[in-house]
């Protein structure tokens, strides 16, 4: 387990299948790659074999989207077992999941869905994080979500909720700066205050991504976490603020749609490295 506050700047990219051959052939200029765990939960084939090759050259971050930690149902033990097999095979430097739910009533909904922040949901998420960490035998980094609605029943804000999960379970946090920005705009909040309220020592990784612009029924900005555009200027500025608070943290550029050339993403990763080198914690 790596210390949450890794001192030297470390930047990574989400590994896209369209880039894997090029990354291996010429050696991509990154310090680590991140993959979605569920894309590799197959019995065999070229995807797993290529990931073995990538892992032989770079540390991996394993990013899960399927645990449904915020779901009402108990965790899917078969899914935990699949994660455990991937962790044993690829020995990732980090394993992360989301403060969200994605399945209900046996149906997989394939999105990171929002939950009310209440005493009940806090207890449930903590129970699930505990169970995941003990089943997998390692610490989990929990990612703050992009959300589009809030709930009347919520009794605490997201930062407080995350602080409590960290305090009760010992998990770490994956700070998605784009999600922090998107959620703040979408709910009239303050993204800087959100980041300042998080327990900084627990933040083991940072995500940066692009969003899409929309408007809500009142004509106010509604930002969509699209992973389909370069990191926005406002998110770079928020990232610089986070670095001043936290110091360098392993930082990932996420891009899942309209994926550009590998070299374009490498340049964005270098921009994150430069920001870390220029930060003054």
């Amino acid at each position: 387990m790596r210390d949450a506050a890794t001192a030297s700047p470390s930047v990574g990219l989400g590994l896209k299948s369209a880039h894997t051959r090029e990354a291996l052939a010429r050696g991509a200029v990154v310090d680590f790659f991140e993959v979605h765990a569920e894309n590799f939960m197959v019995d065999g084939g070229p995807a797993l074999r290529q990931l073995d090759q990538v892992r032989a050259r770079w540390p991996l971050s394993l990013h899960g989207v399927g645990l449904s930690l915020g779901g009402e149902a108990p965790l899917d033990v078969a899914h935990l077992d699949r994660l455990k097999r991937l962790i044993e095979r690829f020995e990732p430097a980090w394993f992360s999941e989301h403060l969200a739910w994605s399945s209900h009533g046996g149906r997989w909904l394939n999105d990171l869905l929002p939950l009310p922040y209440t005493a009940d949901t806090l207890a449930r998420v903590c129970r699930h994080v505990d169970e995941a960490q003990s089943h997998l035998g390692r610490r989990l980094l929990l990612e703050n979500p992009s959300t589009y609605v809030q709930f009347e029943t919520s009794t605490m804000d997201e930062a407080f909720f995350l602080c409590e999960v960290v305090r009760r379970t010992g998990c770490g946090l994956l700070l998605d700066v784009n999600n922090a920005y998107v959620s703040a705009v979408n709910h009239g909040g303050d993204a800087r205050a959100f980041i300042e309220a998080l327990p900084s020592a627990a933040i083991g990784e940072i995500h940066l991504a692009g969003f899409a612009e929309d408007v809500d029924a009142a004509g106010d900005r509604l930002l969509i976490d699209s992973h389909g555009a370069p990191v926005a200027e406002a998110v770079w500025a928020l990232y610089a603020h986070a670095l001043n608070l936290l110091g360098p943290r392993p930082t990932l550029i996420e891009r899942d749609h309209d994926v550009p050339l590998l070299s374009v993403l490498e340049a964005e990763a270098q921009q994150a490295r430069a920001a870390m080198q220029g930060a003054s914690p």
């Binding site: 899914h79 739910w101 149906r107 709910h187």
Partner: protein, 259 residues
């Protein structure tokens, strides 16, 4: 809470109570973001698995068909490599496709390719591994051949193998005459999932080998007594499996050639 929310994601007419927005705006517009994410991402997953079905029916009709399938049959697992097993059946009952009755088989072929791509690894038998068995004709019928985990066969009353092949590679495609029964063996070879046209008797024989039937029984069952002139070229079929690397082992049920 989650029950109403989950239902609303797949049902555009369902509402969710208890949502709040900071500016008092109608939360249903925001709920639509989730609805769109859920359906469009799963439609995209089906589009990835069924590119030729999509090309044949057209993008917009495909997306409408896929969205219907997603709403009626959402995945049961977060591992989307296996999502779409019911899409062929969905196409059987879908409206507006009566003029293209081969679409379900085309979907089955494409789904088989994706499953082959992600199937377990296994070491292929060398060409000479079967030699000791071929010297013992009496033991051959009891031999159980183990096939590579990626091997599947598809037999269709339509020319879906040719239709699929016509959509590979760049350039314009010409549709083959569809009123011709065809069969194919699908498996992973190297990094690719290959589609190999085979005789219908060969497909029936391989299907029985996949079920673990011994060689002799698989041959007997593969020859269709109704179809006049239908024969199985066992030597050629066995040679094809060896050449493709589709055989991974052999077990005797009636005596071992080494004993």
């Amino acid at each position: 809470m989650n029950t109403a929310f989950a239902r609303a994601l797949l049902d555009p007419w369902a509402t969710v109570r208890g949502l709040r927005t900071w500016n008092g705006s109608d939360p249903s517009v925001r709920l639509d973001v989730y609805r769109n994410n859920v359906v469009s991402s799963l439609v995209e997953a089906l589009a990835d698995t069924f590119p030729v079905v999509r090309a044949v029916v057209g993008d917009a009709p495909f997306r409408a068909l896929a969205a219907g399938h997603v709403r009626a049959h959402p995945p049961r697992s977060p591992v989307l490599a296996h999502y779409g097993s019911g899409f062929a059946t969905w196409l059987v009952d879908a409206e507006g496709l009566a003029a293209q009755p081969w679409l379900p088989d085309l979907a089955r072929l494409e789904f088989a390719r994706v499953q082959a791509f992600h199937a377990a690894e296994a070491q292929a038998l060398g060409a000479d591994t079967l030699t000791p068995w071929l010297a013992r004709p009496d033991a051959l019928p009891g031999l159980v051949l183990h096939l590579h985990p990626s091997v599947q066969v598809l037999a269709s009353a339509w020319a879906v193998v040719s239709l699929w092949a016509a959509h590979q590679g760049p350039g314009p495609t010409t549709s083959p005459p569809m009123h011709e029964a065809e069969a194919a063996l699908v498996m992973r070879a190297g990094d690719d999932a290959v589609v190999v046209p085979v005789a219908s008797a060969t497909a029936r024989w391989v299907a029985r080998l996949c079920r673990g039937l011994p060689l002799g029984l698989a041959v007997t069952e593969a020859i269709d007594p109704v179809e006049a002139g239908d024969t199985l070229d066992l030597g050629a079929s066995l040679g094809l499996l060896l050449r493709l690397g589709a055989l991974t082992g052999a077990t005797a049920t009636t005596g071992d050639p080494d004993t």
